[in-house]
Symmetry: C2
Subunit: 909 residues, 2 copies
C-alpha cells in the first residue's frame, strides 16, 4: 500500500529536506529540522500524492488514510506527552497546507483542532486555569473551522456574499460594542464562552450543520479542507501566475499546537537568516510577545524588531528580542547558524516561544530581492558555503532582470520632499497614478498607464492588481506581510506599513501625511528606502553595480551558448554591447522608416511601394540605397569585429501607406507624389491583403521584385568595402526572411553574387560575409536539410514560427490566449515562452536536419523568446549556438544560458 | 566508358521499348520496331545521359562521343548500303530530338544532313538525275540548319526579331514573286540552285559564318543543336506546364533519310492504330503522296484519308491509300497488327513510302480523348490484350473528369483565338452572355439564357448568381478562392485569376485583354485549360456512357481506399452518392447561411455574432438550433447508413456583417436589430481581425463561447435521435476544427457528453457517434499522439494545413504563387496538388503519431486535395482510410485511389 503519512518530531523524522515533491516544502523542512535536532513540535505530513488521489477519487480521502493518520498521532502523543482528544491532557493540532513551492496565504489553515467540550476542561487545568486563553482558542477554532471546513470546503456559496466568517466577525464586533470593549483583549473568559455558544448557534442556522464537538471529526474535516483549498479560487489564480502545475497537489501538515499567546513569557516571530532586501549578513526579523503567528503576518499589530542591529525608523523605540529574551535569542541565533550550515542558503523561519520554550514551526529558503540574492551569493562564495557554479545558480534570471530595473533618480529625489515613510519591502522605484483598487490598477495597465496600487493592506484577492501595478504602497503590514512577500517575489517596487496612508474609499480619496490625493494623482515611491513623494520624480537606470559585474563574469565563465542582441541602430548596438552582447542577431533595416529622421527614407520607400512599374521602382530604390548603406555602416562600425546579422527587408507594406478611409492623408500624399487620388487609392487597394501576415512579405518580396534585394546587397557590400578601406573589421551576416525552400535562397544568392563581384571590382577588396536564412515558416524546418545546402547559418524566427505553427495571429489572439490559459488549454502564452511541445519540435527538427547536411551549421534564434529564460534553456539543450534578444534582456539571457550549461553538467552526474 | 550511342536497323537494335529513360521515347520505340522486324531506316540514338553530360560540361559534347557516332554511322552505312559523305552513294541523315515524354514540336529537327557540294552530284545521279529534288532538299537543309544550328543554338539574338529563317523565307517569297510563281512546286532545279547560293551569301553576311559545306561538320552541328534546343524557350515553358523535370534531357536520333517526296510512288503519312477521338477499332490516319512528313503535320495541304472506312465530310472525295496503294496499305495494316500485339495499346505512327517501299519512322502510344481511352481499354479487355487492372490504369483521372462535363468542341476551338488565360478552376466548358452581377445572371437564368458571370472576384453574396451562371470568370483569386471552391463543388465551369479581365461597373463594360465587351455579349470558356474566347464556340455534351459504369465497376473492384464527398445539403449528398461517394467527409453547416432560404438562419447567426453578452447569444442560438437540426437531419436521411462527418461551425464571422464603410447596410441592420448605428459599428469593429485566417475561428469559437458548441451538439444529437425513432440509420461523425491540442478536444467533449446524456434521456435512445478532429494546424500534427487519445478519427484539412505550413494566405498569394512557379521556386500550386515534400511530411507524421496512440485511428482528408489525383495517390501511400472531395470529383478520386492500389501492387513485384 502507498505510504501517505510521514511523521516527524523528537529529533528524528521519516522524511527529509529532499522530499519536497512528496511532503511539500513545509513538511520536508520540518522533517529536516528534526533531523538537525532543532526543537520542532511533533507532527505528521500527509503527502501531495494523497491530494492527487483525493481529487482522482472524486474528493474522497483514500481508504486507510485515517488509520495511518491515527498511527502518526500516536507517535506525536508519545513524543509530546499528551493525548489527542484526551479529557485530561489533550493534544491540539494545526492543519496546514504545504505545496512543493510556497504559495503564501493561498490555501487554508485550521488551528486549535481538537478543542471540544470533552477536552476544554483538561486544557484549562493544564494551563493553570487559564480559562480565558482556552475559550479564546476555542472561539478562534470555531471561526476558522466554520469558514474553512464547513463553508468553503463544502462549496457553499453564501447568500449576498455574507460568508459565515464575516457574520461571526460582525457578531464579535457587536458584542464588543455592546460591552463597550475597544480591543479583543478586554473580552473575558465568560464573554468568550458566550460568544462560542452563539457562534455555534449561528453556524447551525446558516450552514444547517452542527459545529463538530468531536476531536476526531474535526481532524478529518481539517485535512479534507486543506486538500479542498488546493482548488480554491485564490490558489488556482496564483498557480496560473506562477506557472505551478495543477496536478502537483498540496501536502497537509498536522502538527502539535504550541502557543505564543500564553502570556508574556510566550511570543511568536518570523525571521530571515540574512536581510532579504539588501542581502546584508544580519539576522533580520520581527516578533510579538503574547501573540499567535498570524498576528505578525496579518499586519494588525506593528511587530517588534528581532535585534538591535536591525532596528529602523518605525521600530527604533521598540524593544528587541535580543533585549527582552536574551537567552532565547541566543538559542535562536544558534538555530540560524545550524540552518545556514545545513542549507547553505538564506532561510526564512517561523518560531513560537511557549512559556519560555523555543519551537521552530517552519523554515524554508527565503525569498529575496535581486540585490539581496546577488550580495548573499557572493558573500557565501567568500564564506566557502557555496562554489562559483552555485553562485550562478543562486540568482534567478528574473532577479537579475530586477537589478536592471529603473530606480528613482537620487539627484532628483533631493529636490522633492518625502511625505511619508514606510518599510522598504520591494526594490526599485515607481512613479505612477494612484489606483485604489485592483480593478483600477488593471484598467490602468491595459491602457499602459503607470500606476501605484495604494491599499490599507493587501490580501490574496489583490494579487492580479499588484501585478498590474508599477508600485505598491500599503498602510499596514510588515516586511513579511502578504504585500511584501508577493512584491519581493516579483521584484516589484513596494512600500508597506506606511501608517501615514489613510484611504477614504467612498470618496476615492487618500491622505498621505497631510496631503490629499484623488485616485489618478501621481506619486513616486523609493522602494529601497521606503519613501513616498507627492509628485513625479525622475527615474534612472540601475547604476553600474560592481557586484553585478563580478557576478556576470562568473556567468560568462560557465556559459557556453552565445548571446546576441536584436538592435537596429548604432545606439542600441552600443547599449547591448555594454550589456554583454556578442554581436547583433537581428538587424532590421525597417527601423529607419520609423521615428525621427525617418521622413526622407520613408518617402523613398513609399515611392518604391506605390509605383506599379519596375522602372520607377528601381529609381526609388536607387535613392533609398544610400540610407540603407549609412544605417548598416554606422552599426557595423560600432560592432567592429563583432557580427551583424542583417535581415533582408520584410516591411509590412500596407503600414507605410494611408488607409483607404484616411481621406486627408491620401489627398496630401497624392499631391506630394503628383498622382491623382483615384490612382493612389487604386494602388493602395492593390496592396490590401486579407491576411497580411501570410502575404507578400519577406523573401517573396525579393523574388517578385528582385531589384529590392539587389539594392540591399549593394548597400551592404559597399558599406563593408568602405569600412574595410577605413580600417574597420566588419563581420556581415545576411539572412533571408520567410524562406520556404532552398530555391528561394538560390534565387537571391544569384543576385548577391552578381552585386558582390561588382563591388569587389569597384573597391578592389575581397568581401567575406555569411549567407543564411531565417527559419520561421513551418515548412522551412521540414526541408532544413535542403535549405542548409545553401544557407551557412539558420536564425530561428520563433515569433512567426509560433504564429504559423499554432495558426495564432499575434495581432488577434490576445483575448483567445487569455481564455485558453484560463481554461487550462495551454499552460502559458506561447509568444512569451516557447511552446516546447509543439514549436520546439520544429526548432529541434530544423537544427537536426540542417546539421545533417552541414555539420557546422551555425544556428541561433532571434525571436522574442531569445530573452525568455525558460526558452533560453530549451535553446541551449537543442544545441543552438546563440540566442539574440533585446538589449535589456542580454544579461538575463546570459544568465539563463549559463544556468542551462550548469544544469546540464549536474544532470550528467 | 559510358555508352552514349545505341544503333538500330536491319531488323535488330541495341535498345528496346523499355529504355525510354535512356533513349527517349522515339529512340526506344525505333529500336523496338527493329526488334519486331518492321522496316525502319537504320539509325542511332545518342542517350539522354549524354545531353545531361553536355550541359554539365558547359555545352561541350563529351569526349569520344563523335567516335561512337562514327562507329554507329558505319553500321548504318552497311545496313543501308550507302556511305555518309560519299560522293558516289551518299547517305543522308536527320537529327531529331526525343525526350522520355513526348514534347511535340517543342524541340528542333534538322533534315537532309550530309548534303554538300561533294555529295550533291552523287545524289542526283542516284535519283536518276532528279536535280530538282536534290536542290529542293538542299535549300531545305540550308534554311533549317541556318535557323536551328547556326542561329538559335548559338544563342544569337536577331536584330528587330528578324531571324535568319524569316529572312530566307522572305527571300524565297520575293524570288517567287519576281518569277510570278504561285507555289513552291513551280521552282525549277535552277531556281533552287540560285536560291541556295543567295541563301548561303545572306547567312554569311548576317551570321558572320559560312554555311558548312562539309557532311562531318553538319552532323556535329545538328547533334549539338538538338541538345541545345532542350533549353529553348518553348521547351522550357512546355516542361513547366507538363511538369517535366529539367534534368531529364533529350536523346538525339540520327537516322537515315528516306524521302516521301521522290515522286508519285513516294508518300508520307501519320496514323493511329485506333480512332483517338472515339476509340473505335478502326485504322485511322492521313497521308500525302509525294510529300515530306512535315507537310502532313503542318496543315498546308489537306491530307488524304488512310482508308475508306474513315473518310469524312472534308475528305470523302479524296482517294485513300487503301485505294491508291493497296499493297503498301496491306503491309501497313500488318504493321498495325504487329504493333498492337506487341504494345497492347493504341499507337500513333509515322511512315514514309520511298519509291514504293514502306518505312516506319516513329511509333508511340497515342494520345486520346477520355471517351476514346475508355472505349479502347474496354475493347482491349475483350480482345484479351490487357487485363482488368490495366483497364483501370488506361484512363487518366483527367480523362475521366473530361467525361463528366460538357466541354467546348476541341475542333471548333481551333478556329477561334484565345483572348485571355486564367487558372482552370472549374471543369468543362461554357458559352453564354456576360453577366456582371449576380442579379443579371439570375435574370438570364430565369429567361433560360446561357450566361457567364464575370466578376472581379466572388464572395458569399454571389453564390446564387454563381449557381445561375453556366460559367464563371473572375479577375482575381486562386485555385482555392471562393469562386473556385464553389464552382468545383458544383462541377461548374470556372476560370479564376484571369488578370486580363478589367471591369468597369459604371459603364457596364468589361475589357478582356484588348477586347471590349458589353454586358450581354457572348464569350466562351474552356474551364479545363483556363482559356477565354471572344465568340461562341461549339460545345459537345459528354453523354451517359454505359462503358463509364462498366469502367467504374472495375475501378471499385481494385480500389482499397474509401472515397467520400464534401457536401452540405441533401441534394449535393444525393448527387455525390450517385457518383459513388461512400459518405460525407465534410459537412459544413455554414452552407445554410448562403444563398436562398438563408435569410432566417442568417438573421439568427447575426444576432449571435453581434451581441456582446452571453444571455442574448444563448437566446440567438436557441433560435438557430432548429435550423441546424433540420439541415443535419435532412442530409443524414439521404445518407441513411452512410457516415456524415459534421464539422463544428467555423464561420468567417466578419463576412456575415456589413463592412465598416457600408453605411446603408449598417443603417438597415441597426434598425432591424434595434440598436444604434454607433453600437453596431463598435461591435463590427470589435470583430475586425488583422489576420482573420489565424484569429477567432474553429474550436476557438467553441471555447470562448461554449454555448455555440452546445447548440450544435444538441441539434445533432436530437436529429440523430429523431431519425432513429423514425427508423433510419444515422451514422454521425462530429469533428472539431482548427485543433491545436488535446485539451481543446476534452473541453468540447465535456459539453458533448452532457448534451448527449440529456438527449438520450429525453428520447430514450442510445446515440452512437464518432468524435474526431480536423488536423489542419501544423501543431496538431506534431502532437497527434496526444490528440488521438480523445479523437476517434482524424480528418486532414490540407487547405489550411498548406496555408500555415507555407505561410501562404490563399486569399493573397495567388500572384506570388504564379511568380514562384514561373521562377521554378515551386513546382506547382500547393493548393492544387499537395506539397508532398513539406505538407506531406506533416500529414505522414500526423497519421503515424495518431496511430501510435490509437492503432485503428480512422484517417481521412477533406481538403481540396482529396480530388486531386496526384494527391490522392500520396494519401493512399500514406495509409489514409479515405479521401473526401466535391461531388463531381468523386469518380476521379475513386479512379486515382484504384490506380494507386494497383501501382503499389505492381511496385512490390
Amino acid at each position: 500500500m502507498t505510504k501517505y503519512v510521514y511523521t516527524f518530531g523528537g529529533k528524528t523524522a521519516e522524511g527529509n529536506a529532499s522530499m519536497k515533491n512528496e511532503l511539500g516544502g513545509k513538511g520536508a523542512n520540518l522533517a529536516e529540522m528534526c533531523l538537525l535536532k532543532l526543537p520542532v513540535p511533533a507532527g505528521l505530513t500527509i503527502t501531495t500524492e494523497c491530494c492527487t488521489a483525493y481529487y482522482k477519487n472524486n474528493c474522497q480521502l483514500p481508504k486507510g488514510l485515517m488509520d495511518e493518520v491515527h498511527a502518526g498521532i500516536k507517535k506525536m502523543e508519545k513524543i509530546m506527552g499528551m493525548k489527542y482528544g484526551d479529557p485530561a491532557n489533550p493534544l491540539l493540532v494545526s492543519c496546514r497546507s504545504g505545496a512543493r513551492k510556497s504559495m503564501p496565504g493561498m490555501m487554508d489553515t485550521v488551528l486549535n483542532i481538537g478543542l471540544c467540550s470533552k477536552t476544554i476542561p483538561g486544557l484549562i487545568k493544564k494551563t493553570g486555569g487559564n480559562e480565558r486563553f482556552v475559550y479564546d482558542s476555542y472561539r478562534r477554532l470555531i471561526m476558522m473551522y466554520a469558514d474553512v471546513v464547513m463553508e468553503k470546503a463544502e462549496g457553499i456559496e453564501p447568500a449576498d456574499g455574507q460568508g459565515i466568517r464575516k457574520q461571526l466577525d460582525d457578531m464579535l464586533d457587536a458584542y464588543k460594542e455592546k460591552k463597550g470593549y475597544k480591543s479583543d483583549t478586554e473580552l473575558t473568559a465568560d464573554d468568550l464562552k458566550k460568544l462560542a455558544e452563539s457562534f455555534k448557534a449561528r453556524i447551525k442556522k446558516v450552514l444547517r450543520t452542527e459545529f463538530p464537538d468531536d476531536a476526531e471529526a474535526q481532524l478529518e474535516g481539517g485535512i479534507k479542507a486543506v486538500f479542498k483549498s488546493w482548488n480554491g479560487k485564490k490558489a488556482v489564480s496564483y498557480r496560473r501566475i506562477e506557472g505551478i502545475p495543477d496536478d502537483w497537489g498540496t501536502a497537509v501538515n498536522v502538527q502539535t499546537m504550541v502557543f505564543g499567546n500564553m502570556g508574556d513569557t510566550s511570543a511568536t516571530g518570523v525571521a530571515f537568516t540574512r536581510n532579504p532586501a539588501t542581502g546584508d549578513n544580519q539576522f533580520y526579523g520581527e516578533w510579538l510577545i503574547n501573540a499567535q503567528g498570524e498576528d505578525v503576518v496579518a499586519g494588525i499589530r506593528t511587530p517588534n524588531p528581532l535585534n538591535n542591529e536591525t532596528k529602523n525608523e518605525q521600530n527604533k523605540h521598540m524593544k528587541s528580542m535580543q533585549e527582552l529574551m536574551p537567552n532565547t535569542y541566543k538559542e535562536l541565533c544558534e538555530v540560524r547558524r545550524i540552518l545556514e550550515d545545513n542549507y547553505h542558503d538564506m532561510l526564512d523561519i517561523e518560531f513560537t516561544i511557549q512559556d519560555g520554550k523555543l519551537y521552530m514551526l517552519q523554515c524554508r529558503v527565503g525569498k529575496r530581492t535581486g540585490v539581496a540574492a546577488l550580495t548573499m551569493a557572493l558573500d557565501m562564495l567568500k564564506e566557502g558555503r557555496i562554489d562559483e557554479k552555485e553562485v550562478v545558480m543562486r540568482l534567478s534570471p528574473e532577479q537579475l532582470d530586477e537589478l536592471l530595473h529603473p530606480i528613482l533618480d537620487a539627484a532628483d529625489e533631493k529636490k522633492h520632499t518625502v511625505i511619508a515613510k514606510g518599510l522598504p519591502a520591494g526594490p526599485g522605484g515607481a512613479v505612477g497614478r494612484i489606483a485604489l483598487t485592483s480593478e483600477k490598477a488593471k484598467e490602468y495597465r491595459s491602457a499602459k498607464i503607470a500606476n501605484v496600487l495604494v491599499r490599507e493592506e493587501t490580501n490574496p484577492e489583490d494579487v492580479e492588481g499588484m501585478r498590474a501595478a508599477d508600485g505598491i504602497l500599503t498602510a499596514r503590514g510588515g516586511m513579511t506581510s502578504h504585500a511584501a512577500l508577493v512584491a519581493r517575489g516579483w521584484g516589484k517596487c513596494c512600500i508597506v506599513g506606511c501608517d501615514a496612508v489613510k484611504i477614504d474609499f467612498d470618496k476615492k480619496i487618500v491622505h498621505i501625511g497631510d496631503k490629499q490625493f484623488k485616485e489618478g494623482d501621481v506619486i513616486s515611491l523609493n522602494g529601497a528606502k521606503g519613501w513616498v513623494y507627492a509628485e513625479p520624480v525622475g527615474m534612472i537606470n540601475a547604476t553600474e553595480n560592481p557586484l553585478f559585474k563580478k557576478f556576470m563574469k562568473l556567468v560568462d565563465k560557465y556559459r557556453k551558448m552565445g548571446v546576441r542582441t536584436n538592435a537596429d541602430n548604432p545606439e542600441d548596438a552600443q547599449n547591448a554591447v555594454n550589456f554583454g552582447a556578442e554581436g547583433i542577431g537581428l538587424f532590421r533595416i525597417e527601423h529607419m522608416f520609423y521615428g525621427k529622421n525617418s521622413e526622407k527614407p520613408l518617402a523613398k520607400l513609399r515611392n518604391m511601394i506605390l509605383t506599379d512599374n519596375t522602372k520607377d521602382r528601381k529609381a526609388a530604390l536607387k535613392e533609398l540605397e544610400p540610407y540603407i548603406r549609412k544605417a548598416a555602416k554606422g552599426t557595423l562600425k560600432v560592432l567592429d569585429g563583432k557580427p551583424l546579422t542583417f535581415r533582408l527587408m520584410d516591411p509590412p507594406l500596407h503600414e507605410f501607406v494611408p488607409k483607404i478611409d484616411e481621406k486627408e492623408k491620401i489627398a496630401a500624399l497624392a499631391k506630394e507624389r503628383g498622382m491623382t487620388q483615384k490612382e493612389l487609392v487604386k494602388r493602395i487597394t492593390a496592396l490590401h491583403e486579407v491576411n497580411p501576415m501570410m502575404g507578400l512579405r519577406g523573401v517573396r518580396l525579393g523574388i517578385v521584385y528582385p531589384e529590392i534585394t539587389e539594392t540591399q546587397f549593394r548597400a551592404l557590400f559597399q558599406a563593408t568595402a568602405e569600412l574595410m578601406k577605413e580600417g574597420f573589421d566588419p563581420h556581415l551576416e545576411i539572412m533571408v526572411p520567410l524562406t520556404i525552400n532552398v530555391k528561394e535562397l538560390e534565387h537571391q544568392k544569384a543576385i548577391a553574387d552578381r552585386v558582390q563581384a561588382e563591388i569587389e571590382k569597384k573597391f578592389g577588396v575581397k568581401i567575406n560575409y555569411m549567407y543564411g536564412t531565417m527559419i520561421e515558416i513551418p515548412r522551412a524546418t521540414l526541408v532544413a536539410d535542403q535549405i542548409a545546402k545553401v544557407a551557412q547559418f539558420f536564425s530561428f524566427g520563433t515569433n512567426d514560427l509560433t504564429q504559423m505553427t499554432f495558426g495564432f495571429s499575434r495581432d488577434d489572439v490576445n483575448a483567445i490566449v487569455k481564455d485558453y490559459i484560463e481554461e487550462k488549454i495551454i499552460p502559458a502564452d506561447p509568444f512569451n515562452t516557447l511552446d516546447q511541445e509543439g514549436v520546439g519540435q520544429l526548432v529541434k527538427l530544423g537544427v537536426e536536419r540542417g546539421r545533417s547536411q552541414r555539420a557546422n551549421l551555425k544556428c541561433g534564434v532571434c525571436g522574442e523568446h531569445g530573452g525568455d529564460p525558460a526558452s533560453v534553456r530549451f535553446f541551449y539543450k537543442t544545441g543552438l549556438n546563440y540566442v539574440s534578444c533585446s538589449p535589456f534582456r542580454v544579461p538575463v539571457a546570459r544568465l539563463a544560458a549559463a544556468q542551462a550549461a550548469i544544469e546540464e553538467e549536474r544532470s550528467k552526474k
